[in-house]
Amino acid sequence: MSQAITLQREAAERSDNRFVVAARRFSRHRVGMCGLGVILVLVVCATFAPWLTPYDPIEINYEAMLAPPSWLHWMGTDEIGRDLLSRLIYGARVSLQIVFVAIILSLAVGGAIGLVSGYVGGKVDNVIMRVMDGLLAFPLLVLALGVIAVLGPDLMNAIIALAVVNVPGFARLVRGQVLSVRELDFVQAARAVGASDIRIMLKHIWPSVAGNVIVYASLRASSVLITESSLAFLGLGAEPPTPTWGQMLATAMEYWSAWWMSIFPGLAIFFSALAFNFLGDGIRDALDVRLGD
């Protein structure tokens, strides 16, 4: 009994070490740390938005319509006097939520499809992968538009569309990994002991492919953010008055004289996308993973 506990603790320490090693390597990755820093600031802003914002993001103020940046409104106000900084901070909340939910959804669905497809193999694998190849042939935004055309334009459906668009990538990645792990000794051993298929997939195969999946997920984040803002820009994201960066830019195109309306939301998208890219690069290098594509 005590021996089992020792073994368990050792195993825990080892996995802990692997994590610590990766974290240490990440902390030396300057670009990755920069990205992490920006993302953390965004997350803090999004979480504490109600306490950080100087104004209500949807409160109309006819006294201060289209006011340029000043001490009162650091980033100016929009066409109906809403404070731009407050809207940007709340916009971060919306964007981050969409990005995280969409990626987790596509990871779960794509991961499950890839696991089953690679593990079961044969005809099932063939059919699933042909469908995924078909989906991969669509340009991201065009596929997202197709999903929204079917479901109708609103926030929930935009999230579903962003998830669907990323499912084939995850599925293909996981399936490839499963194929290479499936025949290894520890999987065979588990099968010999009589573990069920589901247990083998989740307890034995999944942990060994999870690293790559995390890296892939972090590398997809900036593309999801850009696609999300594109949808919002086209008017297919969250409905007004919910502030989103993309939709703020679309509004800015009706008020050209108010330069602050088109500069600040654009900067927000630009730096967030860049930060997600940097973060993904950092995680990739820290876990020392090479992805096929």
Partner: protein
């Protein structure tokens, strides 16, 4: 050559079929009654029943797909719910716009990206190199819709050089057409320009250090000739690959850019269709775009052979 076209055709045909099935299945996946989606809310029960029989919505799915395919292949994409215009006619006016936009973007990426990359590679580790690398880093992360807005701010509002939006067909007024298309194609192309620049720099650096370049130099070949004839020729393959791989992203950019600059292209047609709950143009637009991207992939394969005779076709 013919054999190679056949081979990549055989590889791409199942993908093209699968994408067409996915586009077709949009109609099946619609929540609720597809006849309402096609006829609108005002249609009577009899009209809907008639359409249901005419379209065969109660038939088995493979049969429905075969029928849809047959019509699509003969150029019958149905009619727009809103305008009653045949979708095929809409495609005829909109495909040239999107095509011109993407082609110009690719052209810009080659005209700006390749020389920029060569310059950076030749002036490695100088300020020129740093500035070019910095610009291409930023360009790759620049969201295209923001790039479009910045371009309008600069060239239309500040400098007043270019009209901010609108479209004139090329054959009607070539000068005005080009004037109106410069900013949109820059917007679509900005990340591709950046990417091509970086790729050109990398592959030029790689090629320039090889033995045959030294040999050419030793023979007394002029510097310009070494760079443009010997080195660039072999550096082109990865550059073409990058452009081919980016076609999907380019088209996604075009969809948004058409909205920014009010260009009547395929992307605009799809987005308008979504707002109007008008499915036929959406399906047709998506299908044309996907098949176009698949064809470009095939074309990319063929370009390799033109660039490198060692690649057997």
């Amino acid at each position: 050559m013919m054999k190679h076209i056949m081979r990549s055709g055989i590889y791409l045909l199942p993908i093209a079929l699968m994408t067409s099935f996915l586009v077709f299945s949009m109609l099946l996946l619609l929540p609720g009654d597809p006849t309402i989606a096609l006829l609108g809310e005002r249609a009577t029960l009899e009209e809907r029943e008639a359409l249901r029989i005419k379209m065969g919505f109660d038939d088995p799915i493979p049969l429905q797909y075969a029928r849809w395919m047959e019509k699509t292949v003969t150029g019958d994409f149905g009619r727009s719910l809103r305008t009653q215009e045949p979708v095929a006619d809409m495609l005829a006016t909109r495909i040239p716009v999107t095509l011109e936009l993407t082609l110009l973007a690719v052209l810009l990426s080659v005209v700006i990206g390749v020389p920029g990359g060569i310059l950076a590679a030749l002036k490695r580790n100088t300020w020129t190199d740093f500035i070019i690398s910095f610009l291409s880093m930023g360009g790759m992360a620049l969201p295209y819709f923001w790039a479009g807005i910045l371009l309008i701010r600069l060239f239309s509002l500040q400098l007043g050089w270019l009209p901010p939006s609108g479209y004139v067909p090329f054959f009607q007024d070539p000068v005005q057409n080009v004037k109106l298309m410069i900013m949109p194609s820059l917007t679509v192309g900005v990340s591709l320009i950046a990417l091509v620049m970086r790729q050109t720099r990398t592959s030029m650096l790689e090629v320039m250090s090889q033995d045959y370049i030294r040999t050419a130099r030793a023979k007394g070949v002029s510097h310009t000739r070494v760079v443009f004839r010997h080195a660039l020729h072999n550096a082109m393959i990865p550059i073409v690959t990058v452009i081919g791989l980016q076609m999907g992203a380019l088209v996604s950019g075009a969809v948004v850019t058409e909205t920014i600059f009010s260009l009547p292209g395929l992307g605009r047609m799809i987005v308008e269709g979504i707002f109007e709950r008008d499915l036929a143009p959406v399906q047709a637009g998506i299908l044309v775009i996907v098949i176009g991207v698949i064809l470009v992939n095939m074309l990319t394969d063929l370009t390799y052979a033109v660039l490198d005779r060692r690649i057997k076709l």
